[in-house]
Symmetry: C2
Subunit: 190 residues, 2 copies
Amino acid sequence: MKTLKERILAEGEYLGDGILKVDSFVNHQVDPKLMDEAGKEFSRRFKDVGATKILTAEISGIAPAVATGLHLGIPVVYARKRKPITMPDQVLLTLAPSHTKGRTVELIVSPEYLAGGERVLIIDDFLATGATIMGLVRLAEIAGAKLVGIGTLIEKTFERGRMELEKLGIPVLSLAPIVSMDENEIVFKE
Amino acid sequence: MKTLKERILAEGEYLGDGILKVDSFVNHQVDPKLMDEAGKEFSRRFKDVGATKILTAEISGIAPAVATGLHLGIPVVYARKRKPITMPDQVLLTLAPSHTKGRTVELIVSPEYLAGGERVLIIDDFLATGATIMGLVRLAEIAGAKLVGIGTLIEKTFERGRMELEKLGIPVLSLAPIVSMDENEIVFKE
């Protein structure tokens, strides 16, 4: 997606250790128009997979997931990292190591909103090692739902998370795949 | 907002102790279309306040805030509850007691994205005691920004958070103000 790539080149900041800071339009400040464009693009690319629900993880996945849900006309469920008091005692829970947080996080979904028979499209901000997204995959699987696609705004292809995801046999789409980056240059896949 | 009130009556669940569960369309599962309608309504009601930025708090404020930002054509900043590694060492931080969490949470904003001269519209999911929103108010004030309005999806008027907010002398709008609720009935303000 051209506008997203341009924005990454203009405002993305390489912080070392594989970390790309995009806090000015994705991760702390959010550009609603850019998210809407991304949602429109995801909905166009996934229009034929028959998704009935979008699954994402709090926090940064929410904006692109809700934008996609609006264009596809389906609800979004975001996995919580802490169980709120409104959630029933019996939950779907998996553990996912977080590279940027340096620890393992819980991903928790209430079985009220993720059930067998659903066709699940996963949307998130980043695909890096794929650990968070594989956590979402496991949640969908233990719910008995069918995975139909995975979409992320930005992919760090050199962290090779895609290898694991492609084994699932469903489309994996990133709108801005980065093949390499350092202090001087961010290079997208052709 | 009629559609929001109808949804609360149809799916909202009173859990006791002042807790209203709206996890099926706001707080865990999100209805993107309803959020878009709420964003449109906020943008209509706040179109003349000259907002340049929307401020909200992670997590549940993000969806209505981004929807409002899309309709007003302005960016959204969401206060983080933990400082991510991408944030500079010098941050804007305040503490807010959380009734539903039973503890005090930090609200953290990077000064990169909230600066003097901004005209800030606060959007959040709930107005109850007003503790979280007053935290956002303090963040805007220490940034040197000007507050121009406060909007929430749902207000629990009986927790009287509005009293504190109205002292600020800016419009405070809730799309679904609840005057009382128990196991049998949820009553909206006329």
